[in-house]
Symmetry: C2
Subunit: 331 residues, 2 copies
């Protein structure tokens, strides 16, 4: 599996995920401004991965002589929804603000992410059964976490342990992370999958073709509400209607104890152009306006369980979320 | 507004909807085989429009000397879900099977469709309110009916009568009829709209941005279950959850009294290539498999009302559907 970036001699080399799978292009980010732009443009994306990219961005800022707070603000300003971005920067406040101190932290966070992903994957895979056809949304593999993957990590461990029959991958418009990235990662891992359009999830459920849903998260509120890539909430509503378990796989760093509930999560709106054009070709009339909401919120009541490295969380979420944060010694 | 086809000197000239809005290309179908292929390939699409195209296909078959039953089979074989295809052919069985007799019928069906569309639009528009932001799915305008449009017809009359604020158009993958056709028709009609991805409908509803939903139908069962373009059912489920009225606009010819319930409706599966490629560019890895289900079924319980030219149908649908068929003197 490919990593989303690597740090080399004062620069972050970012695999441009916007061009995958047709092209493997690496962007060299030698300034914190370039790292921020790679995050904003979604050359690197996925809540855990952008947290790690930001940690390396702080290293590069220190080398440039950019003040910590200025760099932090630049990085925080890129994408408002993912909790991991703020979390990584908070962690950096706890270490010496030198390039060496920050580099040590970034490497440590990367190791932690890999360990967390593995643990999430093991805990999640235990909930799957050999004949399961599992639907996932967007991309939550190594490209999205810089580790082993969250929801895709669960699928990888389940596949290795013969607890999975097939994955349903929805394409995840507008940027097609499902079709371009998840399908590609599953292909490389040899895991059987079939692609569907986002609008097909109801038809799949009606036909009884989905046994479980596993998705990632961009921010989890203290009450268990989950912000994730737009399209997640309709899947959760359909899953509840059809009695299909709906799981979320995410590291504890995705939980934001300062966000009480889903309504408090800032939801990013991106440029209309991502909707109006597909792969750089216009699909709508000249001048068409679009609303491009990047995330939606799935209420905790629709979530069967949340797989974290600190354990599997279930309702009542106020209590289980508080418990895992306490055990993690978080804030 | 553009018509989806016109009959001229023994040939059906079909506007190739797969190339809209970027190109206006007309295909000349001089044989019934070419008409069938235009329907199968979705150069012409929309349940009412393919019914009319089939009626003209029978005219062309008669001119070619192709036997009626052979032509009927060829046309019926193109797309299994739309009720209007079978309905048009049944109507043709009632007239003299000469090219003159069949041409007279085709022209009559076209007039009937336009009148039905107008009546549906008037009845439907009465249910809308001046501040309504109305979501529609796929394309149900003149291109889809050969008349005034069904759901889009409702929106047109509502707009003219100041009973509409804005339309939400979802793009309707895989073939993007919403982005390419509905947006284009609304643009030409001067009706304000915003485009969203199919996966965004949940986010819109969560934010309270949708006041009503109006969609078309490809087949309505005797119990009121509605088969329509895939993605309709998730919208209906979300609408019910958020207390948003969900309306279907369709001519009586879309009702199939011989289909007892939604489970009995044959659902077309189309080539995976429509999902794997967007506008002729691959979006998934080489060799990726996809399931391309063209329709889903919305249970009658989720439908607030069905607008037909014979009146507005409401629950209990067994009774209201039977009543409208009886009034229409249908089978």
């Amino acid at each position: 599996m490919l990593a989303p970036f690597r740090y080399e001699e004062g620069a972050l080399l970012v695999l441009d995920q916007r061009r995958l799978p047709s092209e493997e292009t690496w962007l060299r980010c030698g300034t914190v401004q370039e790292v921020a732009e790679a995050i904003r443009s979604m050359a690197v994306r996925g809540a855990p991965a952008i947290g790690l990219a930001a940690a390396y961005g702080l290293v590069i800022a220190a080398r440039q002589g950019v003040a910590f707070e200025e760099a932090a603000e630049l990085l925080l300003d890129t994408r408002p929804t993912a909790a991991n971005l703020r979390w990584a920067i908070e962690r950096a406040r706890g270490v010496e603000a030198t390039s060496e101190g920050l580099l040590e932290l970034a490497r440590e966070l990367e190791r932690e992410q890999l360990e967390a992903d593995r643990r999430i994957a093991e805990l999640g895979a235990e909930r799957l059964e050999p004949e399961d056809r599992v639907l996932t949304h967007c991309n939550t593999g190594p490209l999205a976490t810089g580790g082993y993957g969250t929801a895709v990590g669960v699928l990888r461990v389940a596949w290795e342990g013969a607890r999975l029959k097939q994955v349903w991958v929805d394409e995840t418009r507008p940027l097609l992370q499902g079709a371009r990235l998840t399908a590609w990662e599953l292909e490389r891992a040899g895991i059987p999958y079939r692609l569907v359009t986002d609008a097909s999830v109801g038809a799949l459920m009606e036909r009884g073709l989905v046994d479980r849903v596993v998705v990632g998260a961009d921010r989890i509120a203290a009450n268990g509400d989950v912000a994730n890539k737009v399209g997640t909430y309709p899947i959760a509503v359909l899953a509840a209607r059809h009695g299909v378990p709906f799981y979320v796989a995410a590291p504890v760093s995705t939980i934001d104890p300062e966000t009480a509930a889903g309504d408090d999560i800032p939801i990013e709106e991106r440029a209309p152009d991502e909707v109006v054009r597909v792969l750089d070709r216009a699909v709508a009339p000249e001048g068409a306006d679009a609303l491009n909401v990047a995330f939606d919120v799935t209420p905790a009541a629709l979530v069967t369980a949340i797989f974290t490295e600190g354990g599997v969380l279930e309702a009542p979420y106020e209590r289980s979320v508080a418990g895992v944060l306490e055990r993690a010694g978080a804030r």
